[in-house]
Structure formats: structure tokens, C-alpha cells
């Protein structure tokens, strides 16, 4: 779906965390039928008839047997506004993913930072994970510490620019909770791979939120594929 020229704003805005973080759908092309056609060309069986029950079974089979290539003839572009530390996890996905991002070399970064609404504590079972914090964690103190750190950082950034320091060096003091923004383009194969790793209980909560937003925006475009995939990943 390419948005009409008369209304090129994102089709859907998916607000996250606060009023800054967001994922929106910019454009897409392809559907479940295109996936089926790409698979059925192997025996000359691609067609322009509507999706059948056999086609739906085929999609389940392709996912189960890891026949990935039929899921590549499509595209979904998101505009993503996320903290730098989330983006650093997203950008690790390279195959079938394209990206362009705002640059702190070109522009003065805006005063936009992610502050967790809820702080979590380290998980005991898993060295990299976190869990809901108990009462011992002073949420107010953590919030205050976070905000003060941001204020100090942004003040230093502004001060460096006033001193005449170039943006590309001054940004070194900005924290990884700073919001950045990017266009991210996936195909269904790369998106499902991304979702499997980043909407996973081992993934960081903040990143999972973004993965789920992408999931929610992509699912209506490829409903049979997402249903088959969900069925295989929950059982």
C-alpha cells in the first residue's frame, strides 16, 4: 500500500512510552497472495485467483519448513522514533533491512529523551534480563536521577555548541536514552526474523514495545502469514 499523494502522512501512528516514541506505517507492497505466487512459481502454479484454503495451508508449510524466499517479495517501511539504545539493537538486523536515520552531524539534536515510566530490576535467573521491581526500588529516586542526568547532559551539549564546538563532537555527551528517528524498511521474511528475536521474553522490554508495534502494523497487511506464524510460535 502506497499512501495516496494527497495524504502522505503515516497511515497509522502507534505511540510508545510517551508522546515522543512512535512507530508509523509509511508504505507497503505485497500480500499473502504474492507470497503464495512466489512459492507456486516453482511448479508454474502462480495465478491471479483469490487466496484459497490450500494457499493458506501452503503458507503454514513454507514457514514450518523454513522456505524463506517466497516471503521476500514484499516491503514494509516504518518511520521509527526510538531511544538510541533501542535503535542500536534494531540496526543489528542487516539482511533484508534498510535504514536511514537522523544525523547528529547535520542537525542540533532536540531535547527529546526517553525516561522509563517504570524502572525494573535485574533478573536473577538470566544475566541479561530484567523483571518488575519490588518495593525496595525507589522509583521516584530513579526517575529523578535519570532526569537530572539528562538535564546535565543536555546542558553540557548546549554549552559545547555555544563554545563553538562542532555538532559531531558535542553529541558525544548526549545519552543513549536520546530519541533518534529513522526510516526502516523490512520484507516479511526479515520482519518475522526480527520479531522472533526482539519480541521475545529475552529481549529488552523497551525494544519489545517497538517490535510489537511493528507486528501490529504489519499483521493486517499479511493476515494469513502472521496467523500461521503466531500459531507456530506459541505452541
Amino acid at each position: 500500500m502506497t499512501l495516496p499523494a494527497t495524504d502522505a502522512r503515516p497511515a497509522t501512528l502507534y505511540p510508545l512510552h510517551d508522546d515522543i516514541g512512535s512507530v508509523s506505517l509509511v508504505q507497503s507492497v505485497g500480500d499473502d497472495k504474492m507470497i503464495v505466487n512466489a512459492a507456486r512459481v516453482s511448479f508454474g502454479g502462480d495465478s491471479d485467483t483469490p487466496l484459497t484454503a490450500r494457499d493458506e495451508k501452503l503458507i503454514g508449510y513454507l514457514l514450518r519448513e523454513h522456505h524463506g524466499s517466497p516471503f521476500e517479495h514484499n516491503l514494509i517501511t516504518f518511520k521509527v522514533v526510538c531511544p538510541v539504545f533501542v535503535d542500536r539493537q534494531m540496526v543489528r538486523h542487516r539482511v533484508g533491512v534498510s535504514k536511514n536515520e537522523i544525523s547528529g552531524r547535520y542537525v542540533e539534536m532536540q531535547e527529546r529523551v526517553y525516561v522509563p515510566a517504570q524502572f525494573r530490576q535485574q533478573a536473577k535467573s538470566n544475566r541479561q534480563a530484567s523483571v518488575e521491581a519490588g518495593e525496595h526500588l525507589d522509583q521516584a529516586a530513579a526517575t529523578e536521577t535519570y532526569r537530572e542526568a539528562w538535564n546535565a547532559a543536555y546542558t553540557a551539549y548546549t554549552r559545547l555548541l555555544e563554545l563553538g564546538v562542532t555538532r559531531e563532537q558535542a553529541r558525544g555527551v548526549l545519552p543513549q536514552a536520546l530519541y533518534t528517528e529513522s526510516y526502516y524498511t523490512f520484507n516479511v521474511r526479515s520482519l518475522l526474523h526480527f520479531l522472533a528475536l526482539r519480541d521475545h521474553e529475552g529481549a529488552q522490554y523497551e525494544t519489545r514495545l517497538y517490535a510489537r508495534a511493528m507486528h501490529a502494523l504489519a499483521e493486517p497487511l499479511f493476515p494469513v502469514t502472521f496467523a500461521a506464524w503466531a500459531a507456530q510460535h506459541t505452541h
Copy 2:
């Protein structure tokens, strides 16, 4: 452009060589403006206004400076019917290219072969190239030899199947001039790279025809980009 569900046939058919070889446009998404937006996000300058003269200059600049990533947020899918030896050159393009092809393991291959309308001779200057043949080359004899070879091969193929040999082994006798068919999906970056190498005087004539057909089908979708690219590649 996704073709409407009520008319999913290729938007354009581009016949090649004979009445078998063809390239058709299946779907596409993205436009020159999306390329500009992906580039301008670097300074927060993406927008939904129409393409301006400055945008057009920017596209030329991006191409000239090899800033490739803004050209990846789009997609073009072709259905390609081409000889196996052409396909073997196309499939070498891996980055930003997706493919699904008919399989001689699944289906009995049809009696479809490419026979050159004009045979060429080896070039003297370039070990891999060919040039228009002089009168010494007996075109009729070459055509007859080609057709006889095809008849012998297809007869052997049919005979092997009659003997009960599996398709995947029997196809070993089929020639590389056999027609195959595939869905090929590119983005503009990977397509321009493909065109630079395969619509080039060093490329094989038969493959150039396919490259030119893709060029002709893609150009109206990204007119500013193709114009800027052509300007840089002819001077």
C-alpha cells in the same frame, strides 16, 4: 503500485527475443519522493510536499556520491521468462535481490527454447565479448544445428521420463537455452547496480535485452532517479 485484486495480471508485458521471452512488472512501491525523504531524514527534513527542483538535485548528488541507502526504501517485482544461461547471470546479483523460480524437480519442463534470431561471432578485442557476424557465418546452418540440438535434447528428456527416470535427473539433458521463469524483486539501488553491469557493452546481448526491459519498466516509476543516473552514466 500493487495491482488491484480484480486485475492482478502484469501491468506491462515486455516481449523479448520471440513470443516466449518476457519481462513484466508485477508490483512496485516507493517513488522519487520516498528516496528524497529517506535522505532528508538525516536532518529531519522529510516531508509530504511534492518533489522540488532541490529534491531533484539531491537525487543527483546522492547517486554521484554513492550514498546508496536512500535508494533501498522501495521495491520492484518482475516476472521474468528467460533462457537458463541468462538466468545464471541474473542470479549472481545477491544483495537486495530476491528470487523464486520454476523447478524442474516439480514439473516436467515445457518445450520452450531460445533460438537466436541472429548468431554473432567472437570479438577479437575482448575475449568474452561477441560482435555482429560477417557473411562467412552461415546463419541458416547455425540455426539448423541449434534446432537439431534442441530436438535431440528434448527427445532424450521425454524418453528418460518414459523410461521412468525422475524429473530431477532427466532435466540434466536439457540445454541452457531452455526457458525458465522466475519472480525477481529488486530495490532501486540493487536494480541500478544490476543495470550498470548487465546493460553494459561488456555484457552478453541476450542479457542486455532483459536489463533494458527492466530499465524501461522501472523508469516511469522513478523518473527523476533514472534521469539523473542516465546523465551520470553517459557522460
Copy 3:
């Protein structure tokens, strides 16, 4: 392992099918420890100590959880001489695979063809698979048909060249059982992916032979990884 300059011949030759088909190991770098180090850098735990039992467990964990990136910091280059129809399956693996191949545009193709020692019949259960043939399949007749087809094709090829036809067109009559040769470079991640798909009961027998040869050559270089992978794929 880069072979010493004084003896750059393949370390191991793995003959296949006949005295033509082969896979040989050209060079490699990396080992199980490098895989472990790439994974342990995530907590600053990379080291130059020998592989431990915990390291071995880690490799199993990484494979099981599809943490693929630590398996990319290595390389294995094979020289592969295989029929064109096998190569057409191999070349579909794009990510983490590099290839250079002999070109029928540059050189006159040698009289080298794969003729199955044993013909198989179509499987009933699976449209694309084949099974051992029963007595009804006249092996001698199939062999003769195959060889005659090859003779007719190669005779036509030679005749076209004599007529002055350029190599790149003349090769169109050569069959897909023609031997080609290539350098193929994988990393362990891409190789295991290739093996999972091509040394699989659904894969063509001729291609499985090549996958197994690569497996046999790569396994001693990454013994812990291959053992863990085999354990997870047989149970």
C-alpha cells in the same frame, strides 16, 4: 588455515560421482574458540585460553537459540566442480556466500558431463523427490539415452564454434549436466544453513553429495560446533 605458498593445492580432494565431480578445501580461518570469543565479547569475556567444557555448552546454546552472528567470524573456501543443475541450487544461497565461476563466454567448455551411475524414479509421496528405481526402470537404456543426448549436444556445440558462432551463444545447446567449476566461500553460519537445506531428505541426491562433502571437509575445522549442530538436528 591458509595453505602454504609452496603447496597451494587443495588440502583435501573429495571426489564425487565420477573422476570429475569434486569438492576441495582451499582455505579457512577461525575455529570453535573464535566463535566462543565472538559470543563472550558481549560480556567482555573473550580470552586466549583453550576451549573449556563451558565454552562447548555455550556453542550448543547459541545454535539452539539461533544466535547466529558469532558463527560469522570465520571463512571456508571450497573449489567445487559440479553439474550446472547442482550449481543452480547452490547459487541460490546468497547471504554469507561468495562465488566465482568458470565462464562459457571466456572459454570453450570442456567435454565433461555428469552421467548418473544410477537412475532414480519419481517419488509418489512427494512431488519433487525421487526414490531408488525398481526393476522396471531400464538403467542401461537410460544411460544410453543420457550419453547420446550429451554426444549430440557436444557435437552441436563444436559445430557451432566451427561455423564461427560466438562461445556465449553456442553454449546454449550444452546441457545442464555439464560440469562447471567455482570457488565458493562460506562462513560457518551460512554453511550450516546451506547444509540444513541441502543435506536434507528433501534435497536432490546429487546436491546432497556435495553438501556432505563440504560437511566432511568443514567438520574437523570446527569440531565442537558441528557436533552440537548434529546433535540438535538428529534428535
Copy 4:
């Protein structure tokens, strides 16, 4: 070159900026001759003889004509310790690049930060570039601002951990000048592409230093290739 098991420390350490930033060579395989062999396989001309003058010309030709695939049959792994903002530029290079990095989810980040020895000012001619600062820029004040920002950030980080906040959230306050460390694996094709973009006058000085260090470490391994490439990029 795989480093011997008895001395697996980096072959060469290339200190950068300060006593923290560094690039070191971990392993490599392939050489100019392997590049030539991958190219010459196209006409069956690969061999184990020493590199000739004709081979050297061939390498120049391949680079000039953008025949990239012969440059992929090799590998160079670096260990890179660099600021996050440099890493964010490096990680954008996806094709032919593999990476594993230390994770702030797993470990408490060390007190290691990049502080510019010399601050630069914004360039007038180029919106994204910087130039040597004039006397008006108070270097001492900038250094102090940078250091204070770091102290505030690291203090907040430590405080959040003391409060019981999980590492993955606490790291949000750490600045982009924080040092991170990664294994980066390239092949010569992807490395030259990286160098063309990142050791370029339009690239950020801090990133250029890293590109140059990689260049210096890789050049002796592929001397003919790097010489040919340099000749084509300076004229």
C-alpha cells in the same frame, strides 16, 4: 593468518585517541593471489604459481571495472574499541560485515569515555563537516564541560545501579562518547567500500582514525590490491 594457539593476542595493536581506543588484527585469510585465482577461474586459469606482473594488472582492472566478487574470498577480523558514536557509523555497513559487541545488558559498563584532545568547529561549506577550530574556541572550557558531563552521567549510572535499577535501563544515561568494544569481520570488498566512505574528507575525524587503522593493518596482507586501490582513489 590465524594467530598461533600459543599466542592468540592481537598481532598488532593500533592505539587511537588515547590509551583506550584501539584497533587490533585478530585473524585473516586470503591474499592477492587468492583474489587473482577467484577472477581467473572464469577462464579456468587459477593456479598455484606466484603472483605475476599480469596478475597485478588484473587486480587493477577488477577494481576499476567494479568486478567485486573476486575480492570476497578472504576475511579480516578486527577487535575494535571505539566510542558509541563511531560504532553507530561503522555498524551501518551491513554487506560482508559481521559484528559482535559488548552488551550493557550483560555487564556494568566500565568508566571509559572518549574525550577529544582537540575540539573542532562546524565547517561553513558543508553542513555536516567540521574544521580545525580557531582561537575563539576555548578548548579548556570545552574539555571541562565534556568531562563534567561524563562525571555526571557516570555518577547517575552508578546511582541507578545502587538503587537497584537493571543495567539495561540504567545505561540509558550513559553518553555516546562511552567506549564500546566489538569484533568486526570484513572481506576485502566490504573493507574497501567502508574505507571509501569512512576514510573520506566528508567523514567524521574520529571515525576516519579507525578507518585508517584498519587500512594500515589490512594493507600488508593484500599489498597489491591496496596499492591499486590507492592509485585509483587519489587520481
